[in-house]
Amino acid sequence: MAAQSAVTKLDLKQKSGTVGLSLTQLALRRLRKDRLTILAMTVVIILAILSFSAPLITQALGVSPTRTQTDKTFLPPGSPVHILGTDDLGRDHLARLLYAGQVSLRIAFLAAGLSLTIGVALGIITGFYGGIIDDIINWLIATLTSVPLLFLLLIISSVLRSLSNAPPSDISLIIALGFLGWTGTTRIVRGETLSLREREYIISARAIGATPWRIMFTHILPNLFSVIVIALAIDIGSLILTEAALSFLGLGVMPPIPSWGNMLSNSQTFFTKGVHLVIFPGLLIFITVLCLYVIGDGIRDAFDPTSRD
C-alpha cells in the first residue's frame, strides 16, 4: 500500500511539470531556457530596432547618410561626430549602415514572407491532393532547383533592369527573391502534409463532411506551425545573404540607396584608405545571418518532441 502510493507520487511529480501543456507551450518553455537562442533573438531585435530608428539616431548625432563632404573623406572610426568614420564621399558610415540595415532587413523579411506563403500553400496543396498537381509542382521544383539560384536571379534582374531602365526597386527585388525561394519550403511542407493527411483527425474531419480547403487550412496548417517558424528563420538568413551577394554584384539594391551588400561593392579600392568600410557591412551581415541560423536551430530543438526538458 505504502509502496504503491510512493509510485503514484513519483509519477505525479514527474508529470506535474509538463502535464496539460501543448507542444507549442512546451516549446516556448524550452526556448526560454535556451540562452543561446534568446541571445541571438535579442541581437536581431536590437539590430532591427536600431535600423528602423535610423532617422532618429542620425538626427540625434547630427549626421546624414547622403550628405557628402569632400573635406572629410575616409575619416577613421572614432572621429568626432562620425562615430564609425566616413566613406569615400565623406558620408557618415554609421548612418549608412543603419539605413542599409533597414533596406536589407526589409527585403529579406518581406521576401521570406512571400516565399513562405507560396511554399506553404503549394506544399499543402500538393501533399493533400497528390496526383497530377503533385507531378506538375515537382517538375517545376526540379526545373527551378537545377538552375543555380544566383544565375536565375541574374536573368531576372537583367530583365527588371531593362523593364524600367531604372534600378530595380525594393518591390521587384522582393518579388524576384520570393518567387524563386519557395522550393525548399514546399518540399518540407509537402512531406509533412503527406503524413498528416493519414491521421485519424483528418479522416474524422472528412467523415463529418469538411471541405478539402477547410481540412487543408484549418486542420493541417496549424500543425505545420513549427516547420514554418523554422523555415522562416533560416529563409530570412539565407535571403539576407542572397540579397547582399546580388547587391554586391551591382544587380540588387542600387546606390545611392545603401544596402549592406552594395556598400561592399567598391571596397577593394578602399583597402589602403579605409579598412573600416570593408569590415563593418560584412560584419553586420554575418552577425544577423548567424543569429537567424541559431534561432532557427533553437526553435527546431525546442519543437523536437523527442527532446527532454
Binding site: 544565375f151 537583367s158 530583365v159 531593362s162 554584384l249 551588400g261 545571418v289
Partner: protein, 358 residues
Amino acid sequence: MIKYIFRRLVQAIPTLFGITVLSYLLMSAAPGGPAKALTFSANTTPQQIARVEAELGLNDPLPIQYLRWLLGDDWMRWDSDGDGIADGAVIIPLDADGDGIPEPPGNRRGILRGDFGRSFFYRRPVADMIGERVAATLELGISSLTFALIFGIPIGIFAAVRKGGAFDNVTRVGAVILNAIPNFWLGLILILIFGSWLRVLPMGGRAPSSILSGYPPIYERLEYLILPTLVLGGSAVAIWSRFMRASMLDVINQDYMRTAKSKGLSNQMTWFRHGARNALIPLATFLGPSITGLLSGAAITETIFSWPGLGRFGVQAVTSQDYPVVMAVVIIAAVSTVLGFILSDILYALIDPRIRFN
C-alpha cells in the same frame, strides 16, 4: 544498368525543356529586348532598329523564335540553288514580313547543336568565348571540391566518432559560422589580409598579368588558386563535414559495427575499415547538388578574384545586357547541374549493391 542510365537521361528531358522555356521566356520579357540592347545609341533611327529586329527574327511569333533559338533555322528556311535567297521553307513562310522580298536563308544552328549566337557586346560567337573560359571555371571548381572533400570528410568522421565531444562542438560551431559568412565578404577580407597587408598572395587573377599568350602550367601559378579555393571550398567544407557526420552516425549504430568490434578489432580499424567506407556511400548523392553550389558560388568568387571563368563572364554579361551570353551561361549551368544529379545517382547505384535499378 544501361536501361537505368537511359531512363534517368529520359527523365531529365522535361526538366531541361523547362529550363530552356523558362530562360527564353524570361529573356523575351525584356521590352525592346535584344534589338534595343544592340542599337543602344542616341542617334539610332527607328529604321535601323526595325532592320536589326528583322535580322534577328523578332517579328516572328514567339514559339518560332524559341524553336529557332533551340534548334536553329538552317532547316526552317534554306537556299537550294545557291543564289543567297531562300527558296524553300517550313514553319516560317518564305516572305515572313510581307515586303515582297524573300529573306536570306537561315544560318543559325541552335543551342542544341552548340550555337549560342553572337555576343552583342563582343560581336563574337558565344560558344567560342565560353570555350575560352570553361577551363578556368573547371580548374577552380575541381580544386574547391577537392579541398572540400579532403577536409570535410575526415572532420565529419572524427566529429561522429566523438559525438558530443570538444571536436564535434568546435566543428559544429565552425560549420554554422562558415555558412553564415557572406562568401564575397570572406573573399574581400582574405584579399585584404593576404594580398594587401601581408602581400604574400596575389590579390586576384589567374596568372601573372605579364603573360600575354596562354597560361603557364598550373603548378607555376598555384598561389593564384589558394584564396579563391578557400572561399569557394570553405562553405563546401562545412556542408560536406555535416553530411559526413550524419552519415557516419547512421553507420556507427549498425550491427556490423558491433560485430567488428566484438571480434576484437581496434576502434580505428572499425571506424575506418567498416564505418567510413560505408558512410561514404550516401555522399555520392551529394555530388550533384554540390556542383550547383560550386557554380553559383563561382559567379561571386570569380568576380571578387577577377578569375576569368564562366561565372564572372555571366555577371558581366548581365551588367552589359548581353543576352546571348547570359542565356548560354544559364543553360550551361543548368545542364551541368542536371547531369551532375544524374551522375551522382548512377554513381550511388554503382557503388551500393543494395540499390536496385528498377
